[in-house]
Amino acid sequence: MVLDPWGWMMMMCFFVALPCALLGAYLILRRMSLVGDAISHSALPGIVVAFAFVGDLSSPWLLVGAAVAGVLVTFLIEQIHRRTRIKQDSAIGIAFTSLFALGLVLIRVLLGDKVHLHQDSVLEGNVSHVTYAKTVRFLGLDVPDSLFPAAIVAVVTVALIIVFYRILTLSSFDAGLAASLGYSPGVVHYALMAVLSVVVVSAFEAVGAILVIALLILPGATAYLCTHRMKLMLFLSAVHALISSIAGIYISVWFNGKASAGVVIAGTLLFLLAWMIGPADGVLVKAIQRRRHLLD
């Protein structure tokens, strides 16, 4: 049996969006959304260097390169704002723009124009290559092989979040109590950053450096407007990832636009919807409640 190409693209989008959505929910609660942005930009030089060595876009070394770059940027940010008077927001800005620019230069210098790691796809990603990738027999289906790394990253991330759900939630809510129970906030922070780097790379190929931030932030922000329950927020983030993956591919087909951007646009529409009618924090919902309150 063969799924149609659009189906595979939806699946690919979902597999990269799911781990982003779950981690992103925590980023929002920890007020670190823009650190996610910094990491996603900074992964570029790591990926380029790794690619220049192995010459294969699906090599796991790319994950390693990006993870190194991700840890490097967190380190640079810390060095700048800990050791000088420069505040964290500027430190983030300096660190990630430098690394991103370095990545852009390295693409040209190390790879030249001949390779298909184009600037365009670096920024905006490309999902459609799933459809013409080699396939592997798996569970009676001809599965494109580039789906597997993304699926593995997704499964591992989900598993990690389930296992460490309690600690992650506790340390995000009340770092003081977590520390007093012996869970060092520093360890939790760096572990989160490391996983984040890997997840960002897995999404990189599909959606590009800049749109990763959308996959990270939009689901969590949408879910945050819809619920006051942590587990439900994670679940809704995952649902957001699923719906925007499916709807995004449809949008991109209808308007003949880029699939990755289509997914983000679908996600944005869901966010706007939640902003208006989100049960927990939607503007209209609150307005109606206020009205009812006045009438009573």
Binding site: G93, I94, A101, V105, G112, V264
Partner: protein
């Protein structure tokens, strides 16, 4: 319009010269605005705006024949302002925090731009993503020049209120400043600046021009006026330097090169800035450390001489090693440090150390500080006697002359410390110093 658009012709500027003029302008506007961005801690708002203008750029391309820069400029500005407004709206109407709102706006606006662009397949939009100084047209240049002039004049006029606003928004409200208007103006100017600069460095790297030169300036000076000047200067140097490097090789683009050159200058500032640089901090730290170490050696020497009843002006190396419980080599090294700083002299063959008059004065000072502080802690701060020593060890090195005088007064000019040891008074020290001086003159 005909006249304006031919400015390049009238000034007879070559492509390269146009790029240089544009780079200078971008350096100026980014330097000016960047200062306030850095001190107001809104660096990432700049980043969000820079991504948010992208759909405006695409719209500008679509709605203008032959890429009219005025239309593009206007559309981008509108998109940027919409982005700012949306961030404010999200934050004020929901419980989402600023960082999440910035992330949402940045990502969704940019995605709209990317998607729209991908459906139209317009040529030239990518130039705005990464910036390209070589494609600056006469009209672009005119626009950039005009914008730079306008932003500079506005910053000049509104300098004082902006400074107050950056430092303390609440205070600005108290002064009766129209804070809402000023904030609107500020973020409007920010959006304007982003749109001007994106030509040179591209949408994604505008934040680099905005933040990096200003942050470097922030490391170099403490005054906002000077910071503005420096930031403009560094902005211009960054833009020109990056442009120059980009010309060295066809594979280099101006945007990333300007960013990297800015980062290079920043790293110089980071390490070498006179007061706030990492190196200066390290040296200060190391200098303090070695001074503290020297002073501890002096103190030990003083104690040995004291236990001798002040009979001799020097101590043997063995004595010192025993007292400090360290090896001869370490004593020799400590001794050499003292000799180098002119606080002691060696006896022939490095077997004994004699303090010079300045060394003696310092030693007495340290011992006085130490004992005064101990006395203060037990007398006035109710310290248990067994804690006092370690604390005094640290404090004695940082008591200034004024604090010592205050301590002496508060403690009523004491003679003895809590352990019963005499506290060397200033007078007694001077007498001893003279005695040591005489010994020096007479060759010990």
């Amino acid at each position: 319009m005909e006249l304006l658009s031919n400015i390049g012709f009238y000034l007879a500027l070559s492509l390269g010269q146009k790029a240089v003029v544009a780079a200078i302008c971008v350096g100026i506007v980014c330097g000016l605005l960047g200062c306030f961005v850095v001190v107001r801690r809104v660096a990432l708002v700049g980043d969000a705006i820079s991504h948010a203008v992208f759909p405006g750029v695409v719209a500008g391309f679509m709605w203008s024949d032959e890429r009219n820069p005025w239309v593009i400029f206007l559309c981008a500005l509108v998109a940027g302002l919409l982005g700012v407004i949306m961030v404010r709206a999200i934050v004020s109407s929901t419980k989402l925090k600023t960082d999440a709102a910035l992330g949402v706006v940045l990502a969704s606006f940019f995605a709209v731009g990317v998607f729209w662009n991908s459906t139209l397949e317009l040529a030239g939009v990518d130039g705005f993503l990464f910036g390209d100084l070589t494609t600056i047209s006469d009209e672009d240049l005119w626009l950039i020049l005009g914008s730079t002039f306008m932003v500079s004049v506005l910053i000049y006029i509104f300098f004082r209120p902006f400074r107050v606003l950056s430092f303390d928004e609440g205070f600005a409200v108290g002064l009766g400043y129209p804070v809402r208007f000023l904030n609107g103006l500020f973020f409007g100017l920010l959006a304007f600046t982003v749109v001007v600069a994106m030509q040179a460095v591209g949408v994604i790297l505008v934040s680099a021009m905005l933040i990096t030169p200003a942050a470097t300036a922030y490391l170099l000076t403490d005054r906002i006026q000077r910071m503005l000047g420096l930031s403009v200067l560094l902005g211009v140097v960054t833009a020109l330097g990056g442009w120059w490097i980009a010309n060295l090789d066809v594979r280099f683009q101006s945007g990333p090169m300007i960013t990297l050159f800015g980062a290079l200058i920043f790293s110089f500032g980071y390490f070498l800035a006179p007061r706030h640089g990492v190196m200066a901090k390290f040296l200060r730290h190391a200098g303090r450390k070695s001074r503290v170490h020297r002073e501890n050696t002096l103190k030990s020497i003083y104690r040995i001489i004291e236990s001798d009843g002040f009979k001799s002006g020097g101590v043997g190396v063995t004595q010192l090693a025993e007292m400090r419980k360290i090896s001869f080599e370490e004593v020799a090294k400590d001794g050499r440090d003292l000799v180098r700083s002119g606080e002691a002299t060696w006896e022939e063959g490095e077997t004994a150390i004699y303090l010079t008059s300045s060394g003696w004065r310092r030693a007495a000072e340290i011992v006085r500080n130490h004992r005064l502080w101990e006395l203060y802690l037990t007398d006035q701060a109710d310290y248990a006697a067994d804690h006092v020593h370690e604390d005094a060890e640290k404090i004695e090195h940082v008591l200034g002359a004024d604090t010592v005088r205050k301590l002496e007064r508060d403690l009523n000019f004491p003679q003895f410390d809590p352990h019963g040891k005499p506290i060397p008074s200033l007078e007694a020290t001077l007498q001893m110093e003279q005695a040591v001086g005489k010994q020096e003159e007479t060759g010990y």
